[in-house]
Amino acid sequence: MSEGNMNLTLKVWRQKNAKVNGSLETYQVNGISEDMSFLEMFDVLNERLVSDGKEPIAFDHDCREGICGMCSMYINGRPHGPLEAVTTCQLHMRSFKDGDTIVVEPWRATAFPVIKDLVVDRSAFDRIIASGGYISVNTGNAQDGNALPIPKEEADKAFAAAACIGCGACVAACKNASAMLFVSAKVSQLALLPQGQPEREERAIKMVAQMDAEGFGNCTNTGACAIECPKEISLENIARLNREYLGSSIASTVG
């Protein structure tokens, strides 16, 4: 068990399933080490709940190194907690003080229904990707890298957009539960590169249509998404998505 001296009060959202209402439950966790990650602190709490014969708290997690995009806790009013540019699994207890009360909620969006406790259904993102967030290539040998010259700046922008792990913090942070930052990153990473060109116009139109169909809100450019994004995806991507979408709608014949 833990070897530490932090005592914390947790208020955690508990909800049996998607059909019933949930509520915040209060838990006391003692002896937490400041070197633990936030998720390890939850592991300690869950172990205790199991040994007490209670239902452990369901929460999403996988790689625990900030690259899979599974962890999704809304901590003290901010997605992924108080630090910038980190996911919940990269958040450590040294970011909190002994005696703190920490409120943990799931992502809140109509398009992300709660499955259980802190776990939400983010398959809306998968359906947006399936609608156009890919390139169609025949299988076979990879081309020689130098066959397609790409300016360094463009490659850097595409790479920065491709850093999106699809965790949904942008939706969670947005007052409108808008998915524009996610969709803009996924459109940008392909629109900026030669490989993305053949389906470029279709992609912007289809992905926006799917995003709207999933019931995400409209972007009002508050900028909260980019501030809370663990991968620091820039608002420039949203402007690019607007250009891609409007340009494709007005000028192309696909939409």
């Binding site: 208020k11 915040l24 809304y74 003290n76 009013g77 901010r78 409120v103 909620e105 809140r108 969006a109 109509t110 398009a111 709660v114 942070a173 007052k175 409108n176 539960a177 808008s178 524009m180 926006v208 249509a209 995003m211 709207d212 019931g215 995400f216 809100g217 409209n218 972007c219 009002t220 450019n221 508050t222 900028g223 909260a224 501030i227 809370e228 608002l235 420039e236 949203i238 402007a239 690019r240 998505l241 607007n242 250009r243 979408y245 409007l246 340009g247 709608s249 007005i250 939409g255």
Partner: protein, 263 residues
């Protein structure tokens, strides 16, 4: 659906409509402020009153003003519709929220509603009275050579069928102009501190609304560029959020202070 209705009914298209109507209203504000600055002239309201005649009778301006009324209503109600959709997108709210965005950007709908109410009050104060109520008339006697204008109030029961009567008398070298005295009505309304306060509060709402609104309109249109975005943000903050609201607020304050000083 045709491609146009499909585009405009998408989330991005709906915002483009907000952006374009908003930018139109921003240009209107610039024109409105520059015209109303004539209230500060010391000419007994001659410049302002003849400007009011021009603005309500020149055909092109009239056409644009009908567009303006329509865009104000469209921008307001379309914005409220988007706000309704946005609230629906988060059916269960958070227990604790620590915002990282600007206060203005989060409260555009509330600020906009305040502004809509303000516009109704404002148009009731001046636009409605100018068009529908028997405002007093004023006669300006201009010495054509010196340009000096003498303002004389017309009798209370005086009325005329045209907006402006202009007579040149070459023998005496004078010019007579008779128009409705909207200037006097403006100075009368702003003798009341309650109105002065309402107008100043309205300008606070305008400043905060435009602090986010002007630069946000560019982002919605996709105009985000490292070279120009700082300029757009600068214009948004210094011109639209600060200078223009201060310019408008200076008018009720000017007339109130003038009244206090006994003029």
């Amino acid at each position: 659906m045709s491609w146009l209705t499909k585009t405009l009914s998408s989330s991005i298209g709906k915002k483009v409509l907000m952006s374009l109507t908003g930018l139109f209203l921003c240009t209107f504000l610039v024109v409105h402020l520059s015209g109303n600055l004539q209230l500060f002239y010391k000419d007994g309201g001659y410049a302002f009153n003849t400007y009011a005649v021009f603005m309500t009778s020149f055909p092109l301006i009239k056409v644009i003003s009908y567009f303006n009324y329509f865009f104000i209503l469209f921008h307001a109600f379309w914005g409220l519709y988007l706000e309704y959709q946005n609230r629906k997108a988060r059916s269960v709210r958070y227990a604790v929220v620590r915002n990282s965005s600007s206060w203005s950007s989060r409260n555009m709908a509330i600020l906009g509603t305040v502004l809509l109410v303000y516009i109704v009050v404002h148009m009731g104060d001046f636009w409605y009275k100018y068009h529908n109520e028997p405002l007093p008339y004023v006669r300006y006697t201009e010495n054509v050579q010196t340009g000096v204008k003498l303002a004389t109030e017309m009798p209370a029961n005086y009325t005329q069928d045209v907006k402006k009567i202009e007579i040149s008398d070459f023998e005496t070298g004078t010019r007579l102009i008779i128009v409705k005295d909207l200037y006097k009505e403006v100075s009368r309304v702003f003798q009341n501190p309650v109105f002065v306060l309402i107008y100043i509060l309205g300008m606070f709402a305008l400043g905060f609304h435009l602090y986010h609104g002007f630069q946000s309109a560019f982002q919605t249109l996709g105009w985000n560029h490292p070279k120009y975005t700082p300029l757009v943000r600068g214009i948004s903050t210094w011109i639209f959020a600060i200078l223009i609201p201060i310019g408008f607020a200076a008018m009720p304050i000017f007339f109130y202070v003038k009244h206090l000083m006994g003029n």
